[in-house]
């Protein structure tokens, strides 16, 4: 790894606002269609989920609380029996293919042995039970997904070298079919036998877009963690290459490397056209392929988004930090011509994000702007003092601070929207810009070109 002497890292008090990591159930239950998420925690957890997820709670979601009562805390009740009762109930009502138990602060403190109970009940009930400890003692917001995916990685079927022979044959047949099928102008002559598994939960249409981006470079994505359904989990093992699509998946990456013997491709993340291109290029380089047409495509995307970039060019932005997407987003915005004062981030894995950090550095050099300071475990109070002096054009922040900052004349963008909007792949660059420019557009009568798909971003 190259050293990053020039990038300055700081660490503050960790007194910042973010979502509890159990919020990951909100998007994961939708992603894994046949799952059920049971959060084992208190009223506090339940109240948070109910308020943070707003309307989804009314849509008969496939998640619920196992609410701990005084008897559970004082161990008057038997955890295993209680959980069995509840899981039986869920099995009868919803019949899921897998139940996730999300451990919380309370189960940590009272040391409830979820990992021990799960295999017993799994046998007894005949449903796989996966335990993920997504608690606020250890993690922030999106890291919840990381704990769930790391736990899921253990359940993926074993990839066998003996499979390869058969697989090659299968793919040759598949290729033959593709070659005959000349209708599509986009299909390539050959696909590389790549054994590439991507990890990170993305809406299925975004996942298809990334599949397609790599397919255009003749790299075939053999599977995703997580998959759309539990029984479609990808095979993992020696000889499988894995690549992350999100910056907060360091535990998953570690698990895939150490426990499943996969090979990690360390690349910048496919956020923004620059990130997507760097991501693809890195993957191609691993498979010894020469990427084609990437530069023209990236330029095309920049060209297409000129109208939005014009709005933010030369403006300054301050990331308060709460979801770990900050480095990638800052890198993209710097490339768009913005000045980034500060990148707050809950947790910085310099190894997992090394390619992204290098890319950030290069981008700053290219754009000839000073490197932003990166503040781990920020202190919101101090940040607000700094913002008072810096007066950034835009603060990317949580909802707790958004209205008060607006009232003090600092335009804000609610950071959580970046985790729910579609921001991956080159074609979604406009969606990021849509979000970033929204508070700035509100100021003056800018109307985007009529054919914009801007409504696609969720407007809360």
């Amino acid at each position: 790894m190259k050293t990053l002497e020039t990038l300055a890292f700081e660490c503050e008090t960790g007194n910042y606002h973010t979502f509890c990591p159990i919020s990951c159930v909100a998007w994961l239950y939708q992603k894994i269609e046949d799952s059920f998420f049971l959060v084992v925690g208190t009223k506090t957890c339940g109240y948070f989920l109910q308020n943070a997820l707003g309307v989804t709670i009314f849509a008969e979601p496939r998640y619920a609380m196992a609410e701990l009562e005084e008897g559970d805390i004082s161990a008057k009740l038997n955890d295993q029996e209680e959980l069995q009762k509840i899981c039986l109930n869920i099995k009868n009502d919803r019949n899921p293919s897998v139940i996730f138990w999300i451990g919380t602060c309370t189960t940590e403190i009272i040391k409830m042995d979820l990992e021990g109970i799960a295999p017993v009940l799994e046998k007894r009930l005949g449903i796989p039970i996966i335990v993920a400890r997504a608690n606020g003692l250890d993690y922030a917001f999106t890291q919840g997904e990381d704990t769930v995916l790391a736990a899921m990685a253990h359940r993926c079927p074993e990839y066998n070298h003996c499979d390869t022979g058969k697989k090659v044959l299968g793919e040759i047949e598949c290729l033959a079919k593709l070659n005959n099928d000349s209708k599509s102008i986009f299909q390539k002559e050959r696909l590389t036998r790549s054994n590439l598994v991507l990890f990170g939960s993305l809406p299925s249409s975004v996942a298809s877009q990334l599949n397609l981006e790599s397919k255009r470079q003749s790299v075939f994505v053999s599977g995703w963690l997580p998959s759309q359904r539990y029984n479609e989990l990808p095979k993992l093992g020696e000889g499988i290459y894995v690549c992350g699509v999100n910056p907060f998946l360091s535990r998953t990456a570690t698990t895939l490397m150490r426990r499943r013997k996969c090979q990690l491709i360390g690349a910048p993340f496919p956020i923004g056209p620059d990130g997507t291109r760097a991501w693809i290029e890195k993957i191609c380089s691993i498979f010894n392929l020469k990427p084609e047409g990437l530069e023209e495509k990236e330029n095309q995307i920049w060209e297409n988004n000129k109208d939005y970039i014009q709005i933010i060019k030369g403006k300054s932005v301050f990331f308060m930090g709460d979801n770990l997407l900050e480095i990638s987003l800052a890198r993209f915005l710097i490339r768009c011509g913005m000045i980034v004062y500060e990148i707050g981030i809950p947790y910085m894995d310099k190894r997992y994000q090394s390619a992204e950090l290098l890319f950030l550095q290069h981008t700053c050099e290219t754009m000839e702007i000073p490197l932003p300071r990166i503040v781990e475990k920020p202190d919101n109070y101090s940040q607000i003092q700094r913002m008072r002096e810096l007066k950034p054009h835009l603060a990317i922040t949580g909802m707790a601070h958004a209205n008060p900052l607006e009232a003090r004349n600092i335009d804000t963008k609610w950071s959580v929207e970046f985790t729910f909007a579609q921001i991956h792949g080159s074609s979604n660059a406009r969606d990021i810009l849509e979000l970033v420019t929204r508070p700035l557009r509100r100021r003056g009568g800018f109307t985007p070109n009529s054919r914009s798909l801007s409504k696609q971003t969720l407007g809360h």
């Binding site: 506090t44 709670i57 009314f58 009562e69 599509s184 109070y381 209205n403 798909l453």
Partner: protein, 514 residues
């Protein structure tokens, strides 16, 4: 352990934070893990608050778990004390600190030595009380603390005000329509010739609490917050209080009659005359409130005997039940509350007004009950609104838990005479919409029903969608699907593509971000 999908009342610390952050210049420090400060989001979003919510966390992480908080909490308190100079800092325990059993009182004692501000430990147990009980308790605790302090310091004025005056107890953030109710109550009391002594906790300075006993009496508009404090003030300072919520014509008249009684206790001595509010009540009922006339009008006649179901907190559910039955002649098949701790009062209030009383915190029970009764309208919380949506019954929201839409910028009190007008609208609109929805069905539906004018597809002609692409299209959220279909087809036409595959779709998306 309990399988729970949803809850009506939040955890205890929310109640404490509601009270603490309602007072002016009070800061709450939660002893809680990262992410438990969601109260700040709620307050900032629901109330559209312009100021930073005065709540921070003293974060409980692995280190705290291993070695205890040690100086962390004390340091956090001192730091806040220096940074923001609050009058008081309320250390707020959460479910986590309940089990950690750290000696928070000790931290408070230590911090008090160095801090300029009064440091208090909120005395609530997460596993015994809910949000509402906790807010009631915290308010009581704060009042006691500062009255005792004033007494010790001797700067304490117990003499009654010269003119009749009242304290309003229980207005808090983010309470259901609390701000509007407060304004209406102030106006009402003003018209009765009663001045407002103090309004707590909303917007009040702690140093003013010592003036509380100067009022002639207390008003507790909501059963959920303030009863404990009012009871304490009655016991300790002999202050009578009114806890009948003045919601609806009858309840309001009743409240005013009680106020009259209380005022007259002192009026003959201090004012040298007796007050009589009968004429006021009559005039307001006839001319200010439209509710009485509305009940007589043909509109309301149409509602007679219609069935409704009511559910909410004790205050609102009981009052609305009374309004529906006694003032509008609507049949309430079932009335319920989730305030189990106030069940006795609720039973007493709605006894004889409805066929069935249901007291539960389980929203599925309420849902099943509503589905079973199949009323023409529901009056409940946001949960009941969604139950209604699912089974196609209109719902008026009358109580928390609430959404942002229940914090209207416009003036919408539930209390007093203007409140009766608002409630009439709410009730009438709910029923009327239900009827409107039904009548077209009876007459064979809206004539436009079959025509899907929303389709944006271009002239399809020779363009063919591959099955794979068609299914990809289905994954796209409904509200943009039509637009994407159209853009893709335009793109295909321009490029002379006859079959639309997934590739084409995304190529089109890239291009159409032009």
């Amino acid at each position: 352990m309990k399988l729970a999908y949803w809850m009506y009342a939040g955890p205890a610390h929310i109640g404490t934070l509601r009270v603490a952050s309602s007072f002016r210049n009070v800061h709450a420090i939660m002893h809680a893990p990262l992410g438990d400060d969601h109260f700040n989001v709620m307050r900032s979003m629901l109330e559209r608050e312009r100021d930073f919510t005065p709540v921070t966390a003293s974060v409980v992480d692995r280190h705290v778990l291993a070695r205890g908080s040690r100086d962390k909490v004390v340091n956090n308190i001192s730091r806040k004390d220096e940074e923001q100079c609050p009058d008081s800092i309320v250390l707020t325990p959460t479910c986590t600190s309940s089990i950690l059993q750290e000696d928070l009182q000790n931290f408070v004692d230590r911090a008090s030595l160095y801090s300029e501000s009064d440091v208090i430990l909120a005395d609530v147990n997460h596993y015994r009380v809910n949000e509402l009980q906790a807010s009631d308790k915290t308010l009581d605790q704060i009042i006691r603390h500062f009255l005792n302090k004033a007494r010790e310091e001797g700067n304490f004025n117990r003499s009654l005000t010269n003119k009749p005056s009242a304290n309003i107890i229980g207005i808090s953030t983010p309470g259901f329509h609390n701000q509007h109710d407060c304004r209406e109550l102030k106006r009402l009391l003003g018209e009765l010739g009663i001045s407002i002594n103090r309004i707590i906790p909303e917007g009040e300075f702690l140093k003013n609490l010592r003036d509380l006993p100067r009022a002639w009496f207390n008003i507790v508009p909501y059963r959920e917050i303030g009863l404990m404090s009012a009871t304490f003030l009655e016991k300790e300072y002999g202050m009578p209080f009114i806890s009948q919520p003045p919601i609806g014509l009858l309840n309001t008249a009743d409240s005013i009659a009680r106020i009259e009684k209380l005022v007259n206790l002192w009026a003959s001595v201090l004012l040298g005359k007796q007050l009589n509010y009968d004429l006021y009540i009559e005039n307001q009922t006839k001319y200010v409130s439209q509710a009485a006339w509305f009940s007589k009008s043909i509109d309301c006649q149409n509602l007679a005997g219609k069935e409704a179901a009511v559910s909410g907190d004790a205050t609102h559910a009981a009052s609305i039940t009374k309004i529906l039955v006694k003032e509008m002649g609507i049949r309430v098949s079932c009335s319920g509350t989730y305030c189990k701790h106030d069940a006795e009062w609720f039973n007493e209030q709605v006894q004889g007004l409805c066929d069935e009383i249901i007291i539960t915190e389980d929203h599925t029970k309420i849902g099943n009950m509503i589905a079973h009764i199949d009323p023409s309208a529901i009056f409940g919380t946001q949960m009941e609104r969604h139950i209604g949506k699912r089974i196609d019954i209109p719902c008026g929201v009358i109580s928390s838990p609430v959404h942002i839409q229940n914090f209207p910028p416009g003036y919408r009190p539930f209390l007093g005479y203007e409140g009766t007008n608002q409630i009439s609208d709410l009730i009438y609109n709910s029923f009327n919409l239900g009827m409107e929805d039904h009548s077209p069905d009876v007459f064979g539906g809206h004539d436009t029903k079959g025509v899907n004018t929303k389709s944006l597809s271009v002239n399809r002609g020779d363009i063919n969608w591959a099955a794979e692409a068609e299914s990809e299209l289905k994954k796209i959220p409904g509200f943009v699907r039509g637009k994407i279909r159209r853009n893709t087809e335009i793109f295909a036409k321009e490029n002379n593509i006859l079959e639309i595959t997934v590739d084409v779709m995304y190529a089109a998306k890239e291009k159409s971000s032009l």
